[in-house]
Amino acid sequence: MTTHSLENAQNNNEDSHGHYDPMAAKMGMWLFLFTEGLLFGTLFLIYAAYATKYRVEFEETSYDLNKLLGAVNTLILLTSSLTMALAIAALHRGAKRLCQQCCGATIAFSLVFLVIKGYEWYHKIHEGIYPASQEVQLMPAGKQLFYGLYFVMTGIHGIHVVLGAALILVAMHFICKEKVTQERSVFLENTGLYWHLVDLVWIFLFPLFYLIH
């Protein structure tokens, strides 16, 4: 639903009014990002409350996550933000093909990110560590909450990665169909904004889960 609404937010001006108001689309997108920020903000608030209450357990559990994979994923997302920004810059200069390639690269990075994240999850679940598992239920409360939040927050972030990638795919399609062009580039710009949000959230998630000890 999110993707759908974004798409609408960005398109309808052109369709129904015959006039193109990139400023309105941008404003709508920023307000939408605001709601996303609050959504993750709530999760961070819950994290903060429990991390304060169970400081020691949170730090101990954090050791059990794979820092290397986390760091690699951080690098991947940061690079994907770069390719996204390059895609927009390319479109502004009228380099349609380059723009498509950069978009493609961003999607590729997002897939690599998801594969690595999926591997981490798979590994944990394989060890019997998932929220409702016997193993986790025997852990002390702080550890249980840590894992609960870990799966929820990285999971919801993962959904946003998928949505972001889907949105980029839609943008590529529009560029192909000349619906998004050098002069009418706001759809891609908004997609970029969304992608940077996805990246930004991860930049907070990474230290909170992998590096707190």
Partner: protein
């Protein structure tokens, strides 16, 4: 924005296109407004039916007419339907959608398709709420407090999904309205020339954007916890149920202002029109909307005074709660000052508005009792609380929903209703309303707990009075809607400006053409400049 298109004579938004499909896929904000109106009223009546069933059960102290279980489920559903499906989307969805662009001299909202999407979210959410009853309903109350909501045997999935989707609908409307006020406004109209209804919708839009995501994600977490056993709020696994309450009220108190602000905007339109006098203190009213939105977002803790939070926090929350009464009072004083020396006409919308000021004052002042730490301990979770918030919500927002309905009905549908009958309906409502909730104030003060299906015999008299009031009120609602519906067939055609209003919607055809105005909107006069007004020095 203001292309000079002149539509053929007698063509308006209602008859420009025909067929059910032309409504279901419309992106015309007026049609979406009308669809909201139909949905909102249908579900409102559903909520009223639940109310009647519960009040019937409460006629006798130990009644088993409804099983306790059924009573709890009806109670929960009444809360969900009335809050998420009636009051929150009511005025902004129906009248905001219809009139916001017209008041700004625009052709439509900034994102018309998004607007339609938010209507579909609204309908889907509302239907899910009803389906949840068919599937058994839930008994947690509309607050879904953990740990009970984690343990209850009833199905949480559907009602929570409903609340979540309705939340989305609300966010999309909020985004749409904020951007519309900025980008679609007629370039000749400055921010401080916007009608006050627009200001209030603008402030509401911001609160919707800021507060709703918090409840959205909190409800998702609750579902995940129940469905997948992920520990988050469950105290047996280290979670903190009070944290859930915080997150719930971080949305749900600002939600009170999401409901209230548009209603206050309606008052600021009706009073000047029926007093034939420029609104007093335009900027104060405009900024008080923004102040209410801002302070109102910081007072959620007062729902939790008895949860054992620290004294400092309690004092701060109590103080902020008192503070939010200030901008509300500023509005009331300005409205009264507007009427002073005005040429007041007690038409039906004005009657509703006067009832609002009376009922809302009672609701607001009893809110101060509850905001005060000492009395709060005594009154917390008694029937005093539902009495208080029904005075603000139904006596405040609800009356203004009816006020707005009677004010804008001629413009929306092009027909005049029978004013005498409409006023009688309003007065009957007023009697029924006070009978219910004033009795509940007394019962609550004497210790009657809220939400209970049973009560001790000593409370019988209060509950009986309340039930009689509830029935009277239900009859009034039916009468009011019947009167309006009849007008569609039998009413006289409404003129362009039946009330002598000065805002832009009264300067276009009745009902408005598809593009809202034939040609440029007439901005030669301000929103509150009445030609016949006598200047007092």
């Amino acid at each position: 924005m203001t292309t000079a298109v002149v539509s053929p004579p007698n063509e308006n938004y209602l008859n420009a296109k025909r067929g059910v499909m032309s409504w279901l896929v419309t992106i015309d904000h007026k049609r979406i407004g009308v669809m909201y109106l139909c949905g909102v009223i249908a579900f409102f009546l559903f909520g009223v039916v639940l109310q009647v069933l519960m009040r019937t059960d409460l006629l006798w102290p130990d009644s088993q007419w409804l099983s306790r279980d059924l009573y709890n489920r009806f109670l929960t559903l009444h809360g969900i339907v009335m809050i998420f499906v009636f009051i929150v989307p009511g005025i902004p969805g129906a009248f905001g959608n219809f009139f916001l662009p017209i008041l700004l001299g625009a052709e439509d909202v900034a994102f018309p398709k998004l607007n339609l999407l938010s209507w579909y979210c609204f309908v889907t959410g509302a239907l899910l709420a009803v389906i949840s009853v068919v599937l058994g309903g839930i008994d947690t109350g509309w607050t879904f407090y953990v740990p009970y909501s984690l343990q209850t045997g009833t199905t949480l999935l559907w009602p929570i999904l409903a609340a979540f989707i309705l939340g989305w609908s609300s966010v999309l409307t909020g985004i749409n309205f904020v951007v519309t006020a900025h980008r679609m406004r007629d370039p000749r109209m400055s921010f401080f020339q916007m009608p006050l209804f627009v200001w209030s919708l603008y402030a509401t839009g911001w609160v919707q954007v800021v507060a709703t995501p918090v409840i959205g994600i909190t409800l998702v977490l609750l579902l995940l916890e129940r469905g997948l056993g992920i520990p988050i709020f469950d105290p047996t696994r280290g979670g903190d149920p009070v944290l859930f309450e915080h997150l719930f009220w971080i949305y749900s108190h600002p939600a009170v202002y999401i409901m209230l602000l548009p209603a206050m905007g309606v008052v600021s339109e009706i009073i000047p029109t029926f007093s034939r006098k420029t609104i007093f203190g335009y900027k104060f009213i405009a900024f008080s909307s923004v102040a209410i939105a801002a302070i109102g977002s910081l007072v959620w803790g007062h729902h939790m005074f008895t949860t054992g939070m620290g004294d400092t926090a309690r004092i701060v929350f109590s103080f902020l709660t008192f503070l939010v009464a200030v901008p509300s009072a500023v509005k009331v004083f300005n409205w009264i000052a507007t009427m002073y020396k005005g040429s007041i006409e007690m038409a039906t919308p004005m009657v509703w508005t006067m009832m609002f000021i009376f009922l809302f004052s009672i609701g607001g002042l009893t809110g101060l009792y509850l905001a005060t730490l000492g009395p709060n301990i005594h009154l917390h979770d008694t029937a005093f609380v539902p009495a208080h918030f029904h005075y603000t919500m139904l006596g405040g927002v609800g009356t203004l929903f009816f006020g707005a309905l009677h004010y804008w009905w001629p413009k929306m549908f092009g027909k005049m209703y029978n004013q005498k009958r409409a006023t009688i309906g309003a007065v009957v409502f007023f009697i029924g309303f006070n009978l219910i909730y004033f009795s509940l104030f007394l019962a609550g003060y004497l210790g009657m707990p809220r939400r209970y299906a049973d009560y001790l015999p000593e409370y019988t008299i209060y509950h009986r009075l309340a039930s009689i009031g509830g029935f009277i009120m239900a009859v009034a609602f039916v009468f009011i809607f019947w009167n309006l519906l009849v007008s569609l067939w039998k009413g006289e055609d409404a003129p362009e400006n039946p009330w002598g209003g000065a805002t832009l919607e009264w300067r276009t055809a009745t009902p408005p053409p598809t593009l809202n105005f034939d040609g440029e909107p007439d901005l030669s006069r301000g929103a509150y400049e009445y030609p016949e007004q006598v200047e007092d020095v």
